[in-house]
Structures are given as C-alpha cells and as structure tokens.
C-alpha cells in the first residue's frame, strides 16, 4: 500500500548535486509517496512555494537531466511533489538506489521510450490531484442523498454551495447508510465504507485515494457498524434501497464482432453499445416509466446504467430480476447454433419496437458492412442460424458462384437482401423460418446484459467519474439523446486532465471559472448536474413532500381513530 518510491534525502541530495543554487533547506520534497499529505487547493500556496523555490527550476532540472517530460508539480503547504509519467517512479527509485551511479541519470534513453510508448497510461500519482481538484464530490453526495440533505453551507473546491434546507421528512441517516467500496493499489478492497456528510466523503476519498470507487446499496443500518448489529442477531443488516443498475460489456459481444475481441473496443464495434443504450433507455422510460436514468461510460469496454427513480431504488430482488428477464432475449449457450429464440406467433410489443425502431436499421445499414458479416469467410455463421437445410444450400450455392458483386453495391447488402427474400417469401409457411431474419438481427445486435448485476440489490457498481485503472479513462456520463456522438477513444484521460490543470494551475486564477470547467471533463460534469441531478433533486423533494403529507394525514387519522 505504501508506495514510497524515493526517500526525500537521496532525492534532495541528487537535486543539490545537480543544482547548486537550490536553497540548502527544502522543507519536504518527495516524489509521490503515500499516504499523501493533504493537498491544499488554495492557489496562494502555489505562488508562495513556487516563488520560494522556483518551479521552473525544478522543471528545468528534471527535463534537462533526467529527461522527464510531462511533469506536474503538486505543491502543498509544506511540500512539493513531483508527478511524472509512470516510469518516473521506478526510475527514481533506481536512481535513489544507485545514487553514486551517474550513468543511469546520464543515459535516460530507455525510460524515455517507455514514456512515449504509453502516453495516457493510468498513473496513480495523478489520482490524488484528480480527487483533490476535479472529482465532483459534492455532486456525488447530492446525488446519493436523494434530497435527504442536511443543511450545510460550505463552499468546496468545486465551487458548490449546499443550500438545501432541511425538510422535516428528511432522513438524515440516509447517506450514511450507503456502502462505498474502495479498491486500493494491489487489489486491496475496502468494503463497507460509509460517510456521514459531504465533507467526510470528500476527505475519505482524498485520504485513501482509491483506484476504484464502487457504490453499493443503502443498508438498514450504517454498514461500517454492521458487526455490532450482527451480534444482536435477527438480520438487521440488510440492503433496503439501491438504484436499478445495468452493466453491458462489449466483451460479451465477441461472437458478433470481428474487429476486436475481449476488452478492446473500436469505432466499428462501439455502436453496439450505442444501440444497447437506445433500446434499454426507451424501454425504461416508456415501458417502465422511469425518468431519472444515468448512462455512464465504464472506462474501457462498456456502459453502466443507473436508474435512480425512488420507485426503482425500492425494487426488491424479485422485481429487479423481472426487469432483467424482460430484457433478456439472448441465451448465451455455446452449444446451440442460434443464440436467440423468438417463439410464438407474434413478438412482444417491446421486441417489435426495438426491432423496427433500432435494431433492423442498425444491422442493415451499419453492422452488416462494418463487420463484413456476409463476406465469403463469414457467411457460414449466419447460414448456421437457419434451420432449413434446403434454404442454406440454395444460398450457399448462390454466394459461392457470384463472388463479385456486379451492381457495385456492397456484397454484404446484396447477400442480405437475397437471404431476406428467400426466408420471407410467400413460399415459407412456417413461422419458424420467417422469424429467422429477426433472430439473426437480434442475435447480432440485441443488448446483452450482465444479468447478475441487475438482479440483486447488493451488487456493487463502479461510481461515475472514477478513473479506469487500466486505461486512465474517466467514467463520464453519456447523454442517451446524443449517444451516437459518444466516442470512447476520445474520452478525457487522467493525464490529459492533469496537463490541463497543470497549465491552468500555473496561471493566475483570478478569473471566476473553476478549474473543472476549463478541463475536458467540464462538459460531462455540466451534463451530470443539469440534465440528471437537477431534475432528480426536484422529484426527490416532491417525493419527500408527498410522503410527509401522507404521514401527517395518517397520524391524524390514527388520532381520530
């Protein structure tokens, strides 16, 4: 856990050797060590410290002599910390170990190459700065309290002021009963963390600096005190509320895409996620009547969905399972040829709508060509899904003969038309055969949910605005209305954000614009606040109001009784 990489003294010694004019006494100079001292976000300290030592001097030394690029100076009240690329730590450790071996310092080539090869890799050293200056703690708190906010008036680093008044029906223990789970370096899991207030949450995150933050359910009692309650028996420690969540991973689509596999994703296969969002979002809104739905990029290979309506949070496991089953068409069985079976003389209206509004067009206009589904080496897989032997041999015959499309049209499109024509012609009496076209489309395009995540209340899910530890991508929300525009390859990354605040941080912050707004994730935070949080807060307050009046009425009635 403790990632002390370079002791202060060898480093200082090294600096002194390199830079004789450096003041003899440096209060504390270290290369990111943990546990971190708190970062002061006040710009004043940056100025005083940087004037005292001359930040540019540091930059100069490091660039010049160790040949590090992309440095970030995180300057605290009594310390200066230097964050560089991930290789910086190891190289400095080496350097510290072989202090007298100047060769290493004079020959920095290998490290440099490494730096350039992985420019956006996740760097734990940046994380502290991210949590300190960009992570929207207050918004997360506001979201997770669902209107049960205690009256606080405090300005935090995000420039946010809590102004919610305390309503008599507010459940002040609500936020404190929510489980947070932190994953630290080396896969150390800290489960059942809980926080009483926004500042406690913020400090907790900043102190522990977790690689990953997961959000669990709201329990009947404070989860950090669960052991005390466990002794009293009678199972008082149970989850009582939890957002309805969905998790879709692109790695589950490996048999439907040829461009990538596993956790990789490119612009050719990402649209599979986009249509999953479209299908589910429409159904959650129109069928189930939910209004507060947040879609979040999971940082690498998929999307998460948080349904936050009060009704959704209070669903029991059986009802969650029912929704998950309602969405399930795909039966992930490796032994059967066709993975989707649509039986019955008609399809459920939800499936009909998904098919005609989203899936069909997407399949025919995009996926067919982008994945070359009916190209010579791939069409067998689709033919296998057709149960009628005579049809498959007819198609196979046609396609083997005419390898080149004469009309100039894409060969996949031409073949798809032929297939459709044959399957849906009047000759085919059995609905099983006619249904085949839909089955093929569904099995390639229909959303594939990770069912277990949705079925149970106590499943953890990664919080929005986390940094994915493998990619360094920020898990930013996706606006379902414009989800087509979302580009997973152009998501703000931790190091990009660091560069942005670094250049900004060195400037005079006289202007009122907060740090986060200038960065590339400003847009995402804005969307989160304005399109998700605000309407949610409004309806939460209404809910609280309604339940309060109901309660009043009830107590009145019981008095009359």
């Amino acid at each position: 856990m403790n990632r002390v990489s370079a002791q202060t003294s060898p480093l200082t010694a090294f600096l002194h050797r390199r830079l004789p004019r450096l003041p003899a006494k440096i209060p504390s100079l270290s290369i990111c060590s943990s546990p971190f001292p708190a970062i002061s976000s006040s710009p004043k300290s940056i100025f005083t410290t940087s004037t005292a030592f001359g930040t540019s001097d540091f930059k100069h030394i490091f660039r010049k002599s160790v040949n590090f690029t992309d440095l970030i100076f995180v300057i605290g009240d009594d310390s200066v910390r230097v964050c560089g690329k991930s290789s910086l730590r190891s190289s400095m450790t080496k350097e510290a170990q072989n202090e007298r071996d100047d060769m290493l310092i004079d020959d920095p080539e290998p490290q440099n190459e490494q730096i350039d090869a992985i420019p956006d890799e996740f760097n734990p050293n940046y994380l502290k700065a991210y949590y300190g200056r960009l992570f929207p703690h207050a918004d997360m708190f506001k979201w997770m309290s669902y209107g049960n906010v205690v009256n606080i008036s405090k300005t935090n680093s995000m420039g946010y002021i809590y102004t919610d008044g305390k309503h008599p029906a507010c459940d002040q223990s609500y936020f404190g009963r929510r489980e947070f789970s932190f994953t630290l370096d080396n896969d150390i899991y800290l489960r059942f963390q809980s926080f009483k207030s926004a500042s406690e949450l913020e400090n907790g995150i900043k102190d522990k600096c977790p690689f990953k933050i997961d959000i669990g359910p709201v329990y009947s009692v404070d989860p950090s005190k669960r052991l005390a309650y466990a002794q009293s028996g009678d199972n008082v420690f149970t989850p009582v509320e939890r957002e309805l969540v969905f998790d879709i991973d692109i790695s589950d689509y490996d048999d439907a895409r040829y461009c990538c596999s596993g956790a990789d994703v490119c612009l050719d296969c990402w649209p599979l996620m986009t249509i999953a969002i479209k299908v589910l979002h429409t159904s959650l809104r129109d069928d189930f009547g939910f209004n507060h739905i947040l879609w979040v990029y999971s940082g690498r290979r998929g999307v998460h969905c948080w349904v936050c309506d009060g009704k959704a949070r209070r669903l029991n496991n059986e009802q969650r399972g029912a929704i998950a089953d309602y969405f399930r068409v795909y039966k992930g069985n490796n032994n059967s040829k066709s993975k989707v079976s649509l039986v019955g003389s008609a399809l459920h209206p939800f499936l009909v709508r998904s098919y005609s509004d989203v899936l069909r067009d997407f399949f025919e206009k995009k996926l067919l060509c982008s994945q070359q589904l009916l190209s010579d080496e791939r069409y067998e897989k689709i033919l296998e899904m057709i149960p009628d032997e005579s049809i498959t041999s007819e198609l196979r015959g046609k396609w083997q003969d005419s390898r080149r499309s004469t009309s100039g049209k894409d060969v996949n499109v031409v073949r798809w038309e032929q297939l459709k024509q044959l399957l849906q012609s009047g000759k085919q009496k059995s609905t099983g055969i006619r249904r085949c076209v839909e089955e093929i489309v569904f099995s390639f395009t229909y959303p594939r949910l990770d069912m277990e995540v949705s079925k149970h209340m106590n499943h953890l899910l990664k919080a929005p605005f986390c940094i994915h530890p493998k990619t360094g991508h920020v898990c930013i929300p996706i606006d379902p209305d414009v989800c087509d525009e979302f580009d997973p390859t152009n998501v703000p990354t931790l190091s990009k954000l660091m560069r942005e605040i670094n250049t900004g941080g060195m400037q005079v912050e006289a202007d009122k614009v907060a740090v986060w707004e200038r960065t590339s994730m400003g847009k995402s935070i804005k969307y989160f606040r304005e399109s998700f949080l605000q309407p949610l807060m409004k309806s939460c307050k209404e809910d609280i109001e309604v339940s309060y009046t109901l309660k009043l009425q009830q107590s009145k009635n019981s008095l009359n009784w």
């Binding site: 129109d286 009547g289 029912a322 019955g344």
Partner: protein, 604 residues
C-alpha cells in the same frame, strides 16, 4: 419404503418430545380429551392485529375466560349444539359463491385440543396424522402400511417445487393433495378445518426467519393453485374481498391499446377471444413474474393484466399480508403466549415445527448404538465420503485439526457412538501422536464438550451438508465437503477408493464441477449401494442411516432368497407388525455376519 420409515421415525420423535415435555399432555387421556379448550380465542388473540395493547387485561382474565368457555362448552355439548362456530362464514361469500378463505382474520371458534394438532398435521403432512394420533393414544402400532398412502400438502408442495415440477403438474398435485387431506363430510367443517389448520401452522412456523420463509412460500403456492382451480366468478369475488384497488381498463383506453394487447396475447399463444376481455391496470411491480416472462403489455409503469392472469397480483397481496401477520404472531408468541401455554400448546407447536426441519440426527435412538469394534467396518460401508476421508486421515495421521474433530466427532455421536467409546476411539488414535497425557489434557475436553458435558453444556448436533459445504477448510484441514473442497484429481482418487465405477465416477465429477455437491454425493451413494436414493443426501447422518437401511434390506433379501423356507416358517409366527419390528431390530443389531444371523434365525 424409506419414506415411510422416515416418517414413522419422525412421529416417534414427535411423540417422544411431547412426552418429554410433560405437562398436561402426558397426565392422562381423560384430562386431555375432556379439558375445555378455548383454542379459538387463543388463536384469535395471537393473530389479531390490533390486540397488542390489551394483553395484560387478557392475561388477568385468562383463567376466567377458560372457566367460562368450559361451562359454555358443557352446556352446548349437552344440548347437542355444535362446538364450532365460525365468524368466517358470515363474512365470506356474500353472493353465495364459495371461495377460498383469505385468512384475513383469525377464527373465533372453539377448537378441541386434538383437532388443533390433527388439522395442522393434515395440512402439513397428510393422513399420516391418523397414525400419529394413534401413537399418541398409545394404541397398537397400526403399521407401516398407512404410511404408504401418506400424502402431504405443504411438504408435498415443497418436494414438488424442489423437483422443478411444471405448473400444470403442480396444479394437479395440489388439487389431489387437497382433496385427500382436507376433505370433510360437511362443507362448513372443511372450511373450518382449512382455517384452523392454517392458523395453527402460523403459530408453528412464525418462530424463526427460516421457518417463516418456508411457510410463506408453501402457503402462497398452495393458495396460487387453489385459486387457479376456481372459476372466474370466484376470482372476481375474491378480488372484491381482498379489496384489490386496481382499475379495470376503460373502453377508450382499451381501444387505443387493442393492437398491442392482442400482440402480447398472440405472443404467449392466446387469442383475445371475446372483445370484452377484462384488463386490469396494475403497477408493473405487482406482477414481476408476468413482466419477467414478457406475458403482459406494460406502458409507463403500468402492466395491463388480463383477467386470467390476475392470480399474479393476488399472490403478492396474499403473501405480504401473511408475511406481516407471521412476524406479528411471532412477537406475541415469544413475548407472552409461549410461557402461558408451556404446558399445553408450546409442546405441540414445537414438536410440529421439527417435522419440517427434519430430524437433527442428534443421537437418534432409532439408530441404536454402534460399538467400537464395528466402526472400521461401518466406515467402509456406510460413511459418506466426507466422513470417510476424515476417518481415514485420522487413522493415517493419528491426528485431526479442530474442524475435522468437530465434523467427525459430532457425526459419530449422531450415528450412536457413546461418549465413553468416543473417548476411547479418539484416545487410541491421538495418543499415538501426542501421547496419552496430552490427549487427556487437551483433547478429551473437546470430545466431552461435543457431548454436552463441558462448557455451556449444549448438546451439539451433527453438521448438516449445508454447513459442511459452507465450511472453509484451510491448510492441513481434512474437513469440509470433498465434492466442493477437493481438487478434481483428489476427488477421482477418493471416489475410486470408495468403489465408484469409472462411468459413474464421471457423472459424479460432472455434478461436483457444476457445484451440485449434494447431488454428487447422492450419485456416489447410489453408485456405492447400487440402489436409488430419491430423497437425496442432505445430511451425513442421513447418508449413514440410509446406507444401513439398504444394507439391511439387502441382507433380508439374501435371507429371503436363501432361506425362504425357514424364513417363511419363522415369519409365520409374527402375528402382528409390531412383533415383526422387534425381529427386525434384533436382526439389525446382528447384521454383521450373515452366517451368524442365519444360525440364529434358524435357531429361533
């Protein structure tokens, strides 16, 4: 065969418990039968939902009430009036349609103590109770044949659910079970029996979370299939009685959604035959099973439920109500009634619930004793793999760690190893490694502790499969479930050692891989014994008893076959089954060598 014996044992258990708990029940038939009982009032008191406040008042006047009721009953029975009077009848079925009771309020009727128990057992297990009854009356042991026809309602449902029966099979099963068990010559009495048995079982099953869960799911299933068997008139009547708040979809709305609704109907293979099919507009949360299987149309959070699907939202209503009532009953039971009724109801209630939990195999007296000299033979023939592994490890290493000592020690206690023998057994092994002195000092305590002779003196019960499967053996531990905790290689070796043939071995390993540990164990049992085990293995001690039973049967078969002449002659002397049981027991005690038996049998 197994089942009936199992059952017979259970009832012996029930009987024993009742006798043990003493009190009024054992003081004599006369008192038990003649004692006036205001059970109805009691049940009512227990289940009534607003009655919490006047408990103390009731407490004070309880004797008075009993006295009054006794007098009332006497007057009534003298004048030939029916003892039973139901409030239910007045409230239900106003339009003459006979409905299923919803058990909203407890009956205020008088119940004889024996009915109290008999009805409940009928609902729980079926006509087995007739013989149970005779057991209590200490009449002649009626015999095993009665058990052959044993059907049981709640347990039957539980079994069927566990076997994954399909809905139409369930429907038939429930209807059959109900007809055989709950029928009564008078319709009104049948309703009373229904209500009384339900409320008695509420008492029985309210006491722990686990019991409540089981009861809730069984009663809901029972209600569901009874509901399905009724006509739509009854459905309507029940919905009115339940006060279902959902609105029927208006014509205008129906017209707008007609196409979608018929789409749904066709997708589940139905047609909207008549245009006036009634649809209810229900929050979708109320009908999760219909939503999950996409059998309803949903829009903006509302599901459109056809009249033939209403059972789906009736059940949750029924369930929630029952669930709340059970919790409430539990509170009342533990806070006051248990103590008040400790001589009368408490023994019955406690005995009844064990028939769900199954025997705990805590030194079952039916098993008899096993002696030290037989233990190696028994381990080879009748120990389940987990115990056999522990046993062999102990023999090899002369040591077991704590978890192993607990698991094996309690198992041995359960199969009938007496404390002195147990001490001798463990001592013989451990002393080879740690010496006699250290054994006496460090390990003997633990063994006496297991037998409830040390510490808090709890008579610990042997571990069930569930507990063993969930245990987490560490390095050097031998306990746990081999099907779960062994590597595949080790499991194969161990199974081979038990004599499982290669074909069966594959099946067992497959089951273990699929995490069906108990099924794997059951298959092993079947492979080793060459006999089927329908009930499945749920407890190592059950494995042992079932194994012993089969071995005995096999032995009897040998005797039957080889010595048919002698046997038939001998058997001819058994005038009744009771005596046959005696012989069987005698046989059982001597089944070690068939030659030995043969000679003794002939001698007899």
């Amino acid at each position: 065969m197994e089942e009936k014996e199992f059952r017979s044992r259970q009832y012996e258990g029930v009987k024993r418990k009742n006798e043990k708990s003493g009190g009024r029940r054992s003081t004599g038939k006369e008192e038990k039968r003649g004692n006036p009982t205001e059970m109805g009032a009691l049940i009512h008191k227990l289940h009534s939902e607003n009655g919490g406040s006047d408990c103390s008042h009731e407490l004070i006047s309880k004797n008075e009430v009993l006295w009054k009721s006794w007098r009332r009953r006497r007057t009534r029975s003298e004048s030939g009036e029916k003892v039973v009077r139901s409030q239910k009848k007045a409230s239900s079925a106003p339009d003459g349609v006979s409905t299923i009771p919803l058990y909203r309020s407890a009956p205020t009727l008088e119940v004889r103590l024996e009915d109290f128990e008999r009805f409940a057992v009928d609902r729980l297990l079926g006509p087995v109770s007739t013989s149970l009854h005779s057991l209590f009356d200490n009449d002649e042991f009626i015999g095993i044949n009665t058990f052959c026809y044993a059907n049981f309602i709640l347990r039957g449902i539980s079994d069927a659910l566990a076997r994954g029966k399909k809905p139409d099979e369930m429907e038939k099963l429930v209807s059959d079970l109900w007809k055989t068990n709950m029928r009564h010559p008078h319709a009104s009495e049948a309703i009373d029996k229904d209500i009384i048995s339900h409320f008695v079982l509420r008492l029985v099953y309210c006491r722990t979370e686990e019991l409540r869960k089981w009861f809730l799911s069984m009663e809901s299933t029972l209600f569901r299939y009874r509901f399905r068997l009724e006509t739509s008139d009854v459905h309507r009547a029940l919905m009115t009685e339940l006060g279902i708040p959902y609105k029927v979809v208006t014509n205008a709305e129906f017209e707008g959604l007609k196409e979608k609704l018929s789409q749904v109907a066709r997708s589940i293979g139905q047609q909207i035959s008549n245009p006036d099919t009634v649809y209810y507009k229900v929050p979708w949360e109320e009908v999760p099973e219909l939503v999950g299987s996409r059998r309803v149309f949903i829009k903006k959070g509302y599901a459109y439920v056809a009249l033939n699907q209403v059972v789906s939202f009736i059940i949750p209503h029924f369930r929630t109500h029952l669930s709340k009532a059970l919790v409430l009953t539990n509170r009342k039971w533990t806070s006051m009634i248990r103590e008040q009724e400790k001589d009368r109801l408490t023994p019955i209630v406690e005995a009844l619930s064990t028939s769900y939990l199954g025997p705990d195999y805590n030194q079952d007296k039916e098993i008899g004793e096993i002696s030290l000299k037989d233990i190696d033979q028994l381990a080879r023939t009748s120990f389940p793999l987990c115990m056999r592994h522990l046993f062999d490890s102990l023999r090899d290493d002369h040591h077991l760690k704590h978890g192993g000592r607990m698991q094996l020690g309690l198992f041995l206690k359960g199969v009938g190893l007496k404390l002195d023998d147990a001490l001798a057994f463990w001592k013989a092994e451990f002393s080879q490694k740690v010496g006699v002195e250290r054994f006496d000092k460090e390990y003997a305590y633990g063994i006496r502790h297991n037998y409830g002779k040390e510490g808090k003196r709890t008579d610990y019960t042997p571990f069930s499969c569930q507990k063993i499967i969930l245990s987490t053996p560490g390095v050097g531990d031998h306990h746990g479930c081999p099907f779960r905790h062994f590597s595949e290689e080790n499991l194969r070796a161990a199974l081979g050692k038990m004599g499982v043939s290669s074909r069966e071995l594959e099946q067992v390993v497959d089951k273990a891989k699929a995490r069906h540990y108990q099924l794997a164990c059951t298959l092993t049992f079947e492979a080793v014994h060459g006999a089927s085990c329908d009930a499945g293995i749920n407890h190592p001690n059950q494995y042992f008893t079932d194994s012993q039973k089969i071995l005995k049967e096999k032995l009897e078969f040998v005797i039957d076959f080889g010595l048919s002449f002698e046997l038939s002659r001998t058997l001819g002397r058994f005038y009744n089954l009771k005596e046959f049981e005696v012989v069987r027991k005698w046989l059982d005690g001597n089944n070690r060598q068939s030659m030995d038996i043969r000679e003794r049998f002939l001698w007899r």
